[in-house]
Amino acid sequence: MEFLGLLNYWIIVVLMMTGFYIIIAHNNLVKKIVGLNIFQVSVFVFYITMAKVKGGTAPILAEGIEIYSNPLPHVLILTAIVVGVATTALGLALVVRIHDAYGTIEDDEIEAREKEL
């Protein structure tokens, strides 16, 4: 039981690490942003997962329902999602400008060009 109980978390960890890996290992600036997204989304899932209560329902008060899932993480994640999209938007905007300035969105090529400066 213990093992099964933690399984979800482990899957989530795998997801997080996929995103993390994309960020640090990949060269393409857009891809990095994608990685960030995946990383964050998996963190969100992590929060939501911890909020679930067996047999609970969505935390909307209604007659005859006793068990609700934990609303607080939901709130936090609502906030976090917004932060996420905000970051994405900014990052992408920067990517666009970088592309204008350097004509590429590959990290190493950019570094090469910076060396020349």
């Binding site: 960030l36 963190v43 970051t87 300035a101 350097y102």
Partner: protein, 492 residues
């Protein structure tokens, strides 16, 4: 009304930002920003005064008592941070006017000040809040705005600098969130004081340990602790001068504050920090930061970048003080937060003046600058002394207490590291001085031409402050020690 200051401290700046957006006129935006910043300074000072008199101020948002609502818990440490941030902010504003005009396109300036206000609000929000998640939200406000402001530098490398900062910063923030999540999982609370009360009970949980680890890494990324500093040099080098001044003086400082807060308040009652291996690791990294960063600084040809590396070294000082886990060490860190803020912002302002006149801060552009911009260079030298830690400067004061703390602890290597890095400081400052004073100005540019007063006056205010508080350090020290003791006192 005074009871509402804590809210106003942050909300004023928040409210002013959209105003700037609507106004859409550079000067109007500047005026608004300036007024707001100065008011915030007044608020911060009065808050500090009240805290010193009456102790901790509690301010539950929306009258929802913690831990259900978000509550501000302002003790000496917060208040002092608020003062530092707003103080630098208010000195930067007059300076910014000319410098920003010179470095940013006309039609973007109003948005710039909007960003500046948001950044200010974000930093204040971090410094004042008593809720770990709320801290994250404001961390993001300040981070996003600083990414934007950095990207406004004239050099196109500013863009990549901002992008890299964005990526690393977001990783840091996400790590922080993971840490918070795990803490929440084990305690069910997000309020700092509440966490501090609960955590000891569950301290042995591996989850908490990992949580602490992630918080540490996340914040270290934000405060550019060696070797997680990679984003900093470019960011500081290519950002517009005013931004560099403000960020260098307040951005990393607030991150350091958050670091302190997490370790000493939230995990205050928990052995795993005070007794665990983490302090040793931190001390090691700090010492490395001091030595390596200072050494790298010696070999820089871009003076702004040189100063950026010296900032990394100075952050090493602060972390070292933290890692000692003694009142003296912590007090040394806190007083250094203030001291380094004023001296480094002064130095970066000098850079701003030179950029304004000469257009670049490569070392060879400094030839004969001692004659061409005597006032600015004098300020630079004076600030440099402070960086070295010559007596009568603030740098000397912080160094004194850090060394003393290290001696109490018997950490000889730490002592050696501090002294060695100040000797390295002698070298990298002197390289600049020699070029500026012992090389003739290049042909045709020998005439004296100084930056406008609106830039020189703030510059000298900061330099003056870095001597005033070096000559009579008693006020700052008293506050710092009071703060350190509150941090060691059992959390409320």
């Amino acid at each position: 009304m005074a009871t509402q200051y804590p809210a106003l401290q942050v909300v004023l700046a928040l409210l002013a930002a959209p105003v700037c957006l609507i106004l859409r006129r550079p000067n109007a935006a500047w005026a608004v920003a300036t007024v707001i910043t100065w008011i915030s300074l007044a608020l911060a000072l009065s808050l500090l005064g009240r805290v010193l008199e009456t102790g901790v101020i509690l301010y539950p948002m929306g009258d929802w008592a913690a831990p259900w609502g978000i509550e501000y818990q302002i003790d000496t440490v917060n208040a002092f941070m608020l003062v530092i941030v707003t103080l630098i902010g208010s000195v930067v504003m007059p300076f910014a006017r000319a410098s920003v005009k010179a470095e940013i396109e006309e039609e973007r300036i109003y948005l710039f000040y909007c960003m500046y206000l948001l950044n200010l609000a974000g930093l204040l929000g971090i410094a004042i809040t008593g809720d770990v998640f709320n801290l994250f939200v404001f961390l993001e406000i300040s981070s996003l705005s600083s990414y934007v402001m950095i990207s406004l530098g004239r050099d196109k490398r500013a863009l990549t600098a901002a992008y890299r900062y964005l990526v690393m910063g977001t990783i840091g923030a996400t790590f922080y969130i993971i840490g918070v999540g795990m803490m929440y999982m084990t305690t069910g609370s997000l309020n700092m004081a509440d966490l501090a009360a609960i955590l000891p009970a569950v301290a042995d949980s591996r989850t908490v340990l990992v949580a602490l680890g992630f918080l540490t890494v996340g914040l270290s990324l934000k405060l550019a602790l060696f070797p997680l500093h990679l984003w900093l040099p470019n960011a500081y080098t290519y950002a517009p001068s005013a931004v560099t001044v403000f960020l260098a003086a307040s951005g990393t400082k607030v991150a350091v504050y958050a670091f302190i807060r997490i370790f000493f308040t939230v995990f205050g009652g928990v052995e795993i920090f005070t007794a665990g291996v983490i302090p040793q690791i931190l001390a090691l990294l700090a010492a490395l930061a001091m030595i390596v960063a200072s050494t790298v600084a010696v070999y820089q040809t871009d003076v702004k970048r040189l100063l950026a590396y010296s900032s990394i070294a100075q952050i090493g000082y602060m972390v070292l003080g933290i890692s000692m886990v003694t009142v003296t060490g912590l007090a040394g860190t806190i007083v250094h937060l203030f001291n380094h803020a004023i001296m480094k912002s002064g130095l970066f302002m000098a850079m701003g003046c030179i950029l304004f006149k000469i257009g670049a801060v490569q070392l060879d552009q400094f030839e004969g600058l001692g004659k061409r911009m005597p006032v600015t260079m004098a300020a630079f030298v004076a600030g440099g002394f402070s960086l070295i830690g010559v007596p009568l400067t603030v740098g000397f004061v912080s160094k004194w207490y850090l060394v003393q703390a290290a001696l109490e602890k018997g950490w000889w290597l730490a002592v050696a590291a501090i002294l060695a890095s100040s000797l390295l400081a002698v070298i990298y400052i002197w390289r600049v001085v020699e070029v500026a004073y012992f090389r003739p100005p290049p042909k045709g540019s020998a005439e004296v031409s100084e930056a406008p007063l609106s830039m020189l006056v703030p510059l000298w205010i900061l330099i003056g402050a870095s001597y005033y508080f070096g000559i009579d350090a008693t006020q700052t020290l008293d506050i710092a020690f009071a703060a350190a003791e509150t941090l060691f006192a059992p959390a409320l």
